[in-house]
Amino acid sequence: MRDRITLRVARYRPEQESEATFDEYDVPCPKEWVVLDGLNHIKDRIDGTLSYRWSCRMGICGSCGMTVNGEPKLTCATFLSDYGRGPVRVEPLRNFPVIRDLIVDMGDFMRKLVRVKPWIVRHVEKPLSEGEYRQTPEELDDYKQFSMCINCMLCYAACPVYGLDPKFIGPAAIALAQRYNLDNRDEGASDRMEVLSEHEGIWGCTFVGECTKVCPKNVDPAGAIQRYKLSAAVETMKSFFMPRGA
């Protein structure tokens, strides 16, 4: 077990160059260090100009997503010791425009998220006097998995469809829409259906399954999308054959 490791970090300095380059840094590698620790060491002791995002350092805020040796990972959850002798290549998250160094712009996702209405939609609000909206543990289990999303965007970086067609609404947005569709307190499924049934909504997905593989919180967006495809298809058939009945 080596006690130092080389990090090859992608740099992009928009004022000075128009292409990304790589800088190599030699950092210590204690066995409990993660890639984020390495980046922090670089910024604190070696090169203060390195720019990147991080916050909680424990896998719950979703800020530190980057591409490590070609795979989208949370840098606070990826151990340096897993990479043996190195070098470890750290690049910004794929499929997003790079603002600087390892920082990408997530505006596209933010706009798409708003479009799927990720909140409880009620057509009729219950008055306070009637008490709370009640939910059994089984009803919670129906959507709980999809509520674990931390918006880290690793799924978008892994999705080849999103890379090829940036208009695709993407795995996290659909998983979050499902989180609300499956919540028994929500009445907004039909509101979301219009956005999700677009060509670049769920139908853009070809079930590659990479999104589920890289998700650090086991949200399984691929499963959410396929389930929604099935229910959307059933809904369409029902409205076709029974326009007023169902």
Partner: protein
């Protein structure tokens, strides 16, 4: 503020990496995905093969025998062998995917994915058994 949104979307200094035409070769899982999709080509080939068989059977015993002989030729045999692997891949990946899309509830409990997958395999076995019995047995 809204004016600035319009501008930043096409910000000239942001680096956008284009996706290579060979993106699917860069990761094993992407390649596996493309192979899975390519299996549909062999599905189409087998439809053609089946229709040729139907035509041969309809014409005469002679053409049926000729068809059987032709299907034993090395090229056709090789093609069908490759097709077998791809159609097998198609079936297996389909059965893996089915439980993710079909969430079945019995009463209040959800049927586990393994069971849904297993049910599909049983269906395959049953269908295969019936077809084999019709063609070979009765």
């Amino acid at each position: 503020m809204t004016g600035q949104h319009q501008y930043t979307e096409y910000h000239p200094r942001w680096l956008r990496q284009p996706v290579s035409t060979y993106w699917w070769l860069q990761q094993r899982s992407y390649l596996a995905f493309i192979l899975r999709e390519a299996s549909c080509l062999f599905v189409a080939w087998f439809v053609v093969y089946l229709l040729m068989l139907v035509r041969a059977v309809s014409e005469s015993e002679m053409s049926y025998k000729q068809f059987l002989g032709w299907s034993a030729s090395p090229i056709v045999l090789l093609l069908n062998l490759v097709s077998f692997f791809f159609i097998g891949l198609h079936a297996i990946t389909f059965f893996q995917a089915a439980p993710r899309a079909m969430v079945v509830h019995v009463g209040r409990r959800r049927v586990p994915d393994r069971v849904v997958g297993a049910a599909h395999y049983l269906g395959l076995l049953a269908a295969s058994g019936i077809v084999a019995w019709i063609l070979l047995g009765a």
